[in-house]
Structure formats: structure tokens, C-alpha cells
Amino acid sequence: MSPLDFLLEPLGYDFMLRALATSVTAAIVCAVLSCWLVLIGWSLMGDAVSHAVLPGVVLAYVVGAPFALGAIVFGFLAVGLIGVVRNTSRIKEDAAIGIVFTTLFALGIVLISVIPSQTDLNHIIFGNLLGVSWADLAQVIILGVVTLGVLLAKRRDFTLYAFDATHAHAIGLNPKVLGATLLGLLALTSVVALQAVGVVLVVALLIIPGATAYLLTDRFSRMLVIAPVLSALAAVTGLYLSYYLDTASGGMIVLVNGVVFALVYLFSPRHGVIGKRINSQRRRRMLAAS
């Protein structure tokens, strides 16, 4: 089999084309959002919201409403409940997050178990990349484009919010609105990504690409390019590997992301554990030679 055949053969199937389009869209949107999440320190919040949307999506399915609507309602409900538990009791934030999102996630699982046509809904939990319909793909692309559009149009405001919310407030912007917008986009993104990798693994796409890019550059504008490019490549690689190795596609995509992170963690020239050392040795040798 020639390398070209290796790449082209899976594309002969419609379901693989849809899977590829879905996973690349999800990978890009998640990766762009992840750049802010890792800098604000919202990784755990990403974990919480992406899990907590489950009952919202299930209920939306039951009443025939758009998944995105249910996700946003339950995303904000989760954030609100976390705030209430943290502010009105002696429970610390990490515990509040853990309590709220696992309870909402459990509610989703219970709802799935009592609602007929379980097969469809179980796919929400683990993803069903190979079973994505054209309608699913259309929804993913519309939500993806809207989310990405808002993120990129307001990227400078979000970066200011992440870096110095007090200054944002002092110059007349509203940090609360900016934070809430990011959380709403987080809920929307979860809907996009759960088609690809499932609710359980969405958080991987929401953290790993941003963290990887953060180890590669000191410029936020470059992070916004590096993260989605690496994430899209990881999605394509993971999907091909899962096709040829006959493994779970969502799991494979996340695994590739993890491996890429590990390589960058070790060998990034500026911030890698080994790369930093090699770089400074090379500089010392050059100094000695001159």
C-alpha cells in the first residue's frame, strides 16, 4: 500500500469524511478556547462545564430543542451552583466544583437510563465519531463557526480579561460580562466536541492544546495559531490510527494529543524540560567557541 493510498482509502467512505470534518472542527474550536482557559486557570471549570451540560443535552433531546440551548442552560446552572456552594458555605472551590459537576453528570446518566432509545444518548458520553450524520455535522459546523467567530472577534478583550481583569474594569469594560461570555462559549464548545470525543473526553481537547502551545511560545497571538494547528493534526492522526488499528476514535484522538504534549513538555526549546537544557548547552558551546 503506497502512502497515498494509506491516506486516501479511508476517505472513500462517507462516514469517515464526516468523522474527519467533525473532529477537525471540534479540535480547532476547543483548541482556540483552551488558550484562554489554561491562562485564566479555568481547566477545572472546563472539566465541570463540559460534564454538567449532559443533563441539558438529554433534556433538549427529549423536548426536541437544540442541544446547544440545553447545554448553555446547564452550563450556567453549574457555574452558578458552584459559586453558591463556594460563597455561602465553608466548602472550598475545588470541592464545590467536584460536587456540582459530578452530581449534574450523574443526573444526565440517570436521565439517559430512563429515556427510551438509549443507544443514541449513550453516544453523548463516549462520542460516536463514526456515526455522525450529515445533520449532526451541520450542527457542529454552525456552532463551531459561531463560537470561533465570537472568540476571535473579541480575542483582545478576552486576553485582557485573562491577564488583568482589574484594568479591564478600570477602563470601563465589564469583566463579569466577559467572563460569562467565555463560560457560555465553553458550554457551546462542549456541544461541538461531545460529538467527536464524548462528554468524558471533551475536557482533554479543552486543556491539552492550549497547554502545549503555552510551552512553545511567549506570544499569545502565536498560541492562537499553534494550538488549533496541533489540535487539528492530532485529530486527523488519531482518526487515521483508529481506522487502521480498529480502536476507539475519540480515545485515540485524545491519546495523540497527550503524546504531542509529552514531546513538547520534554523538547520545547524554551520551556521544555530537556529542550531548555540542550538549548543552554548549545549557547554555552557557541560562546566558548567564539
Binding site: K154, T159, F163, D164, H167, A168, A170, G172, F220, R222
Partner: protein, 263 residues
């Protein structure tokens, strides 16, 4: 020209007739059951540097938050140039230099980009910089002598340079009210002198500068006025008066009967 002068008493501010630049009236702030500020009242005239003196936990940072409006007082009110803080914020009048601990120094952002954030209030929906914004940023960087370091990541500056970068942000913003929370903490003496000169020049140009500081020795060189804070204003006067041992003793809790009877 009174920037960089040596004694504090003869330096005067303009704007005596108009509304004070900052006016804080009977401000009380509670965090749950803890009272952070009680009945704080003072006002500052334009064109002057005021030092804010008090020990840790005396409410200095809370007072800054109340002035920027980040925090709504439980009682009392703050006015800036005679109007509401919200109006002043919209007008881009208020510049804030955060405490070092509040800043993520590993954030992937250059010095120039930090200063550019001062311009966001002047920009459109997507905050795309125009040539006027770039010029204002270049000028501000020049003024704080960071032009050569503008493309460095913000964390790669020295302590004093970091502070100057944030002051430059306020300059680029065109802020006439500058609030600095502990700008001299972790800053070497030379940088402290540079920043002091810079703040005096900004005040000479008409800005109102409120600086919280622990460095009592440098206070007379820095400030025209000083406020002694211990959850409430114990004293507002000249630096020399505020630095008298009996006054400092009250602010730093040596006089137990006074420091403890707030509740």
C-alpha cells in the same frame, strides 16, 4: 517646573477651586463579617502625589478597589472629578498599577502589548490598534525608558521595569488619576528613584497620583500629602507630619487601645 523637586511642602497643586480629583465620603466596606474599611473620608486635589501608609490588612487594597469601583462600598460614596466612578472609567481617566502578586508574570504577552491594553478604551469593537494607538504606546514606552525592551515577555523585566511598564500603560491610556498599589515592593533603590521622578513629572503635568507604600524613608521625596490608614483615615497631612513617631505608632498598631476598638 516642579517635577523631581526635593522637599514636599512648597509643591502645590492647581485646581483648588474645582471639584477634587478623588473624593471619598464615609466609605465602609465589609467582607462578610469582617470590616475592611470604616467611615473612610478624604479628598485629593489634582496635580498632587499622595502616599497611602498603613500596615498589611489596614485596607489599602480594598480602598483602591472602592475607588476603581471594582468593589461597591456598603456605605458611603466615591466621586472622581466630581462625577461617578463609572463615568470616570468610561472616560478612561482611571489608571491602575496592580500589586506584583496580582500579576501572572508568565503570561505570554510582551511589554508593548501590556502598554497597548491602556488604549483599549479608545478603540473600537475588536480593539484593533490604529496608528494613533501605536504612537501613544511608543511615546509612553519612551517616557518610562522601556523602548528597547518593548518586545520582551513581561516577566523577563526586572522588578522596577515591570512597574514602569504598568505606569506606561496608564500613560498610554491618558489616565489623569493613577492608583499604584505597592509599586516599590521588590524594587531596587535606583528603580525606585526612577519611578518616583516619573510619578512627580506626571503630577506636574496635572495627574493625581495615589501610591500605597511601605517605604517611609522615601515618602517625603515622593509625596505632597500622605494618608495614614488603619481601616479608617487616622490622619491626612504632609509626609513630615504623618511620619512623626506618635502618628506612625497609631497606624502600625502600637497603640493597642486604638487599633483594636474598631468593632
Amino acid at each position: 517646573m516642579n517635577g523631581g523637586g526635593d522637599t514636599s511642602q512648597q509643591r502645590g497643586g492647581g485646581a483648588a477651586a474645582s471639584a477634587p480629583a478623588i473624593s471619598v465620603q464615609n466609605v465602609t466596606v465589609n467582607y462578610g463579617t469582617v470590616r475592611a474599611l470604616e467611615n473612610v473620608t478624604f479628598s485629593l486635589a489634582a496635580g498632587r502625589v499622595c502616599g497611602l501608609i498603613g500596615m498589611n490588612g489596614s485596607g489599602k487594597s480594598t480602598l483602591f478597589k472602592a475607588i476603581t469601583g471594582m468593589l461597591r462600598p456598603d456605605h458611603g460614596s466615591v466621586t472622581i472629578n466630581g462625577g461617578s466612578p463609572a463615568l470616570a472609567r468610561k472616560a478612561g481617566v482611571v489608571g491602575y498599577v496592580p500589586q506584583s502578586e496580582e500579576v501572572d508574570w508568565a503570561f505570554p504577552i510582551s511589554v508593548r502589548d501590556v502598554v497597548m491594553m491602556g488604549r483599549y478604551g479608545h478603540m473600537g469593537f475588536s480593539r484593533r490598534p490604529k496608528s494613533a494607538d501605536r504612537a501613544a504606546v511608543a511615546e509612553a514606552l519612551e517616557r518610562v525608558e522601556l523602548t528597547d525592551l518593548a518586545d520582551r515577555q513581561i516577566g523577563q523585566l526586572s522588578g522596577g521595569q515591570k512597574k514602569r511598564a504598568f505606569v506606561a500603560r496608564g500613560i498610554a491610556q491618558g489616565a489623569t488619576i493613577l492608583l499604584l498599589d505597592e509599586p516599590f515592593a521588590g524594587v531596587d533603590k535606583r528603580s525606585e528613584a526612577t519611578i518616583t521622578t516619573l510619578l512627580r513629572q506626571l503630577a506636574a503635568d496635572g495627574a493625581t497620583v495615589l501610591v500605597s507604600t511601605h517605604d517611609l524613608n522615601a515618602l517625603p521625596k515622593l509625596a505632597d500629602d500622605a494618608i495614614l490608614l488603619m481601616r479608617t483615615v487616622l490622619l491626612q497631612s504632609t509626609p513630615t507630619e504623618v511620619l512623626k513617631p506618635q502618628n506612625l505608632a497609631r497606624a502600625f498598631g502600637l497603640d493597642v487601645s486604638r487599633a483594636g476598638d474598631d468593632e
